[in-house]
């Protein structure tokens, strides 16, 4: 995992989605696989969808709790990144957080209700 600071967060946010999806493929997977052209980004998209399905409830509940304190996109990336970090997702966190921020939290969490996901056990 790369060291993180605000400058780096901005750099990630400025990269195009194709690049960010490619960065999502963990190193051990890249080292053991060969792809068709644009296949690496397609694999990244698949991983993004899988990880997002697992973490979306947490991301949205954290966002619902703290969105008033978010000042800019770096703050938002920090919020998403810390949720991913604590969730121990097996993908690089910064590109994942940057993609979530690029999609937009309001779009991502549309229809989400914080009360729905607390009764699983």
């Amino acid at each position: 995992m790369d060291p993180f600071d605000e400058t780096q967060a901005m750099q990630y946010l400025q990269r195009d989605s194709q690049y960010l999806y490619e960065q999502l493929v963990p190193e051990h997977l890249r080292a053991g696989s060969l792809y068709s052209r644009e296949g690496l980004a397609a694999r990244g998209k698949q991983i993004f969808t899988t990880v997002l399905a697992e973490t979306k409830p947490t991301i949205c509940s954290e966002y619902a709790l703290r969105k008033d304190t978010v000042r800019n996109s770096v703050d938002l990336m920090t919020l998403v990144g810390s949720v991913l970090l604590v969730a121990h997702v097996a993908v690089p966190i910064m590109p994942m957080a940057a993609l979530v921020v690029k999609i937009g939290m309001d779009e991502l969490c549309r229809g989400y209700s914080p009360t729905k996901q607390t009764d699983a056990s």
């Binding site: 995992m1 790369d2 060291p3 993180f4 600071d5 051990h28 997977l29 080292a31 053991g32 696989s33 060969l34 792809y35 068709s36 052209r37 644009e38 296949g39 690496l40 397609a42 694999r43 998209k45 698949q46 991983i47 899988t50 697992e54 973490t55 409830p57 947490t58 509940s61 954290e62 709790l65 703290r66 008033d68 304190t69 978010v70 000042r71 703050d75 920090t78 919020l79 990144g81 810390s82 949720v83 970090l85 604590v86 969730a87 121990h88 997702v89 097996a90 966190i93 996901q117 607390t118 699983a120 056990s121």
Partner: protein, 631 residues
């Protein structure tokens, strides 16, 4: 532009089909009785097998009507499969991978006999690690720094092309290996020159992409100044070849065939060559060095000419390059690899008492003699191959043995038909019939294009025919247990983000935790905690009686449950998340103070302040505390 893509995982021989709506529609349309009925049929059979202690791998035949564009993408992945099965570097990589799994299993007091591989791997982990590090150094790409370059010329004119000689450290080892890097400048002065290490990965990709374009009748583009990283990966080696050789060729067809022949020769390295001197060993074993030498030495031989057919032209050109380099014939390295594969298969089978008695008489002749000596003794080889074929190695095969058997078949096929593998776009049908892509995964469904092998009549009697079903089960086992290569016991399906059939059918993943619905499905079909991973982990005794934790309905990974008071900061009603794998689950508060206390502080007290992970955690904790700790 099609949105269909493929990924070939040469560690486990699984091809993943990636894409959007077209593939999802294809998967849904292919359900014979509809998704619900298909899932229930799978679960019913899987439950019956689970009660008998067997795994169930349901592989469908790939339908003939496929989405447009899939055939071309599949052709690219098929080339990678043919490369994986028949190229010595990838065969050798598979043996090393199995050896590492065996070492890890032995260290965990699991049954190392359940994994194919060499006998010494169970205890001599150091030997396996050294070989693995060298393999990785010759395979993957790497970043070039100035201090690594030796003897590079100053580039002061546009479109310059040069080979730079660099030193490549094997990871975790003090050994330095030589490597060539292609340096290519562009006419656009704004463009940064390309620096491409000529390792196996870009060669494999460049070869497959060039063949894919030839197969679909499209020209192979050249690299330009505004290229992307991906362009360099697929076209870098081709561009390098064109810059040095295009002016010597009559037409693009011959230029392309020359490129394919040169890459094929480079990838057929001889990993077991007797050390004559350092230079010889580097040329034989280290792909990035070998290909650099081939490209320059090719300037000293006549260009490839297609006057008597493409196959003959490619073979003749490869022979000319070999003669010019003073190397042994290509068949020599292939025969040595065949012996190595045969030996590994026999080692893997020698634990079975009955088989040991059968192997006994030939053991001394095949296994206890130097490998290159056996390679020159066709009688011994024939004896071993006959034994493997006649026994058919049934029973309870160790993980990886069916894969090694198929690799041996492919090795023999390459010896018989070397031009097929150098020109896959011209021999797609022959290769497809003999080495069909075994497993394609699409959203939890497994497909195959396996049909009966079609060996040439005169060789049919001397070849093994591994049962397709055992081969596919072997691949699934290899994938499920693959984290062992990194000394990890989690499931390879999770690790590789591949959805398995059990999850697809609604039975969930016991390692991640089951929802009440998934738990109900498992109870209804008597599946318990059975899955691909569980079957193989029990077979290896990796999951002992004391460690058997039956999955309970509970929260899924990442799900929040209100778990009461945080034990550290004493805040009430702290949301608690569950970690990735159910077996390892422990609650972890997500409040900033707890991130700091649980994650940052332990790393600091362990003296890991310079660890990049520590820095990122500390930064997160600080930022989060500053910006978001408002409740």
């Amino acid at each position: 532009m099609t949105s269909l893509h493929g990924e070939f995982d040469f560690e486990h021989l699984v091809c993943s089909l990636l894409g959007s709506s077209e593939l999802r529609e294809f998967g849904a349309r292919d359900a014979i009785l509809g998704e619900w009925a298909d899932a229930n049929m799978f679960l019913g059979e899987a439950g019956r097998r689970a009660r008998r202690g067997e795994d169930y791998v349901y592989v469908r035949r790939l339908p003939t009507t496929k989405p447009a564009g899939l055939d071309r993408k599949l052709f690219h992945e098929r080339i990678h499969y043919w490369q994986s099965m028949s190229t010595p570097i990838l065969q050798y990589g598979m043996i090393l991978r199995l050896d590492r799994m065996k070492t890890a299993a032995h260290a965990k007091h699991a049954s190392y006999k359940a994994i194919a591989g060499n006998y010494y791997a169970r205890e001599d982990g150091r030997r396996v690690d050294d070989a693995w590090q060298q393999f990785q150094a010759t395979f993957g790409t790497f970043s070039i720094t100035e201090d690594m370059i030796r003897g590079g010329d100053q580039i002061d004119y546009p479109t310059a092309t040069a080979l730079l000689f660099t030193e490549r450290h094997a990871v975790g080892s003090s050994q330095i290996l030589p490597a060539y890097v292609a340096l290519m400048a562009y006419e656009d002065p704004e463009s940064v020159p390309t620096l491409l290490p000529l390792t196996a990965a870009p060669l494999l990709e460049g070869f497959a992409y060039a063949s894919e374009l030839l197969f679909s009748g499209e020209p192979i583009p050249r690299l330009t100044g505004d290229r992307s990283e991906e362009d360099e990966r697929y076209l870098g080696c081709w561009e390098f070849w064109c810059r040095l050789h295009k002016h010597r060729y009559r037409n693009d067809e011959e230029l392309t065939l020359g490129f394919l022949a040169a890459v094929d020769l480079a990838l057929n390295a001889d990993f077991f060559s007797s050390a004559r001197d350092g230079e010889w060993v580097y040329e034989q074993r280290h792909i990035a060095y070998r290909f650099g030498k081939i490209v320059y030495r090719a300037l000293g031989v006549d260009p490839l000419r297609v006057d008597g057919g493409s196959d003959a032209a490619v073979i003749e050109y490869q022979h000319a390059l070999i003669r010019n380099s003073g190397w042994d014939p290509l068949s020599e390295s292939l025969r040595k690899m065949a012996v190595c594969l045969a030996q590994t298969i026999l080692f893997s089978s020698a634990y079975e008492q009955e088989l040991t008695q059968v192997i006994g008489p030939i053991w001394r002749g095949l296994v206890e003699r130097p490998l290159d000596e056996v390679a020159r003794d066709p009688g011994r080889l024939e004896e071993a191959w006959s034994l493997i074929r006649e026994r058919n190695l049934t029973g309870s095969p160790p993980i990886g043995r069916a894969v090694l058997c198929t690799m041996l078949e492919a090795c023999l096929l390459r010896l018989m038909q070397p031009a097929w593998f150098a020109l896959p776009h011209l021999h797609a049908d022959e290769l497809g019939r003999n080495l069909p892509l075994p497993i394609m995964v699409l959203d939890g469904h497994y497909y195959s294009s396996h049909v009966a092998p079609d060996w040439p009549e005169e060789f049919a009697s001397s070849l093994i025919t591994s049962a397709p079903s055992s081969f596919m089960e072997d691949i699934v086992a290899l994938l499920a247990m693959s984290p062992l290569v990194r000394d990890d016991v989690s499931c390879g399906f999770l690790d590789n983000f591949v959805r398995c059939q059990y999850v697809r059918a609604g039975a969930g993943c016991p390692l991640k935790g089951l929802s009440p619905e998934e738990s109900g499905v498992r109870t209804e079909h008597g599946l318990g905690s059975w899955c691909h991973w569980r079957y193989n982990a029990e077979g290896m005794q990796l999951v002992g009686a004391e460690a058997k934790v039956e999955p309970q309905p509970g929260p899924q990974h990442g799900q929040i449950v209100n778990n009461g008071t945080c034990s550290i900061c004493r805040s009430a009603d702290v949301p608690v998340m569950y970690r990735r794998f159910g077996l390892l689950a422990r609650p972890e508060p997500s409040c900033p103070q707890c991130i700091y206390n649980f994650l940052v502080e332990p790393m600091r007290s362990a003296g890991r302040k310079d660890d990049p992970e520590y820095k990122v955690l500390e930064q997160f904790a600080k930022l989060r505390k500053r910006s978001f700790f408002k409740r």
